[in-house]
């Protein structure tokens, strides 16, 4: 028991710290550095994927609070400001993409997994949208995020108005949410798919089209 505890202490780099200092540290609770040490020592030593364990500034801010409701307005605004700098749009700006392609990417649940003990394919792309959202009628989905059935219809997008400036503004709003959810909903549970490169701007355009296009099964 003692040996393993000692090994444990070594692993988190506490060797050399005197008992007095250790006591103070315990009174103050655990430091970020200690937690980070434990985390990084516990992953497979595969250099190709260890870089995925980085934490950017917005993630650091969000990690300080258990939920968005617990966050002060200043921190929320800071995340929104940071994320608004991280927007990228397709080469041709906002346009109605291919909802069939968007449907395909939205439905893939295995995208972005890369463990070796499972036969994962790290280059597979997919948003796994149905994990958290109900999108098409009668297709099983999760309830972590808001229901998106009939999204385009509810948003008032029709064949007649879809190419007006208002229609394209609505399309851009949804694009922004999918590309970088934190620019609109800071510290949301929703991953920042575009910012992290999980989905390309064109993929995001297609998914936004899937959600809003009058011909899409989402709106039928």
């Amino acid at each position: 028991m003692k040996k393993a505890l000692l090994l444990g202490l070594l692993a988190v780099g506490l060797v050399g710290i005197s008992t007095a200092q250790q006591k103070t540290k315990k009174e103050l609770g655990v430091t970020d550095e200690e937690a980070r040490q434990v985390l990084m020592s516990s992953f497979e030593k595969d250099q190709r994927f260890l870089s995925k364990a980085k934490q950017d500034e917005s993630q650091r801010i969000c990690s300080k609070y258990p939920s968005r409701e617990a966050m002060p307005a200043k921190e929320l605004q800071r995340v929104i400001d940071l994320e608004n700098k991280n927007m990228k749009y397709p080469q041709w700006g906002i346009y109605w993409g291919d909802w069939k392609e968007g449907e395909k990417v939205a439905k893939i649940s295995r995208g972005g997994r890369y463990s070796l003990y499972h036969r994962d394919n790290p280059t597979l792309k997919g948003g796994n949208c149905y994990a958290c959202h109900l999108i098409e009628k009668r297709v099983p989905g999760g309830t972590m995020g808001p229901q998106l059935t009939g999204y385009g219809k509810r948003y008032g997008i029709t064949k007649e108005n879809m190419n007006t400036s208002e229609g394209l503004e609505k399309l851009k709003t949804v694009y922004n949410i999918i590309y970088n959810a934190w620019s609109v909903y800071p510290c949301s549970s929703m991953p920042r798919f575009g910012y992290h490169g999980v989905l390309s701007p064109e993929d995001v355009m297609n998914i936004a089209t899937y959600l809003l296009h009058p011909e899409s099964p989402v709106n039928k």
């Binding site: 505890l5 970020d32 992953f43 995925k52 934490q55 463990s115 992290h196 490169g197 999980v198």
Partner: protein, 178 residues
């Protein structure tokens, strides 16, 4: 140490295994179907000896409390290419489902207990038992974090945090899961 790291420690002390051999032994059935490993059998046998007892993590011990705090800190650490942390799915008051699976939450009383007090559990989809370290590995894989190593400090931190949250729940092993 949690149960599995304790077994790992004993294997090193008395069965002459190296830490790497212990990890390989623990991972024997990972990613497989219908695999009945000796490691899973040992964990199952020892866990079942506690059936009927209540989970009782002693948070007054400073080492245990420290691991609890580290586990809690990591539980809420947003990280990785999908910005996930454990709390994304397993905290908060809102009752939600991921696809068709109801999610338990550490913030709703009793739910964490129901989730951990039945490990190791039989997993129907892979027709084999699953220990809690394998479950951590699978969660972490779905979170798109780097691959988890069993018998690591993270495992101990998470176990301490989750089982302490579940203090008082009666142990009922083996459970069954999808």
């Amino acid at each position: 140490m949690d149960l599995e790291t304790r077994i790992g420690w004993c294997l090193q002390q008395y069965a002459g295994m190296t830490p790497d051999q212990v990890k390989k032994f623990a991972k024997e059935c990972w990613g497989k179907r219908q695999c009945m490993g000796e490691y899973d059998a040992i964990v199952m046998y020892i866990s079942m000896a506690s059936n009927g007892h209540k989970i009782n993590v002693n948070l007054k011990d400073p080492q245990v409390k420290r691991m609890y705090e580290i586990g809690k800190r990591i539980y809420y650490a947003r990280m990785g290419p999908w910005d996930f942390n454990c709390a994304t799915c397993h905290a908060g008051q809102k009752e939600a489902k991921i696809r068709a699976t109801r999610l338990w939450s550490t913030d709703r009383p009793g739910e964490a207990g129901k989730a951990v007090s039945i490990f190791p559990k039989y997993l129907v989809r892979w027709a084999q038992p699953m220990t809690i370290h394998y479950r951590y590995a699978e969660c972490i894989r779905q979170m798109r974090w780097p691959t988890f190593e069993p018998h690591s400090d993270l495992a101990v931190a998470l176990s301490t945090f989750l089982y302490a949250t579940a203090n008082g729940t009666e142990i009922k092993v083996p459970g069954i899961g999808r």
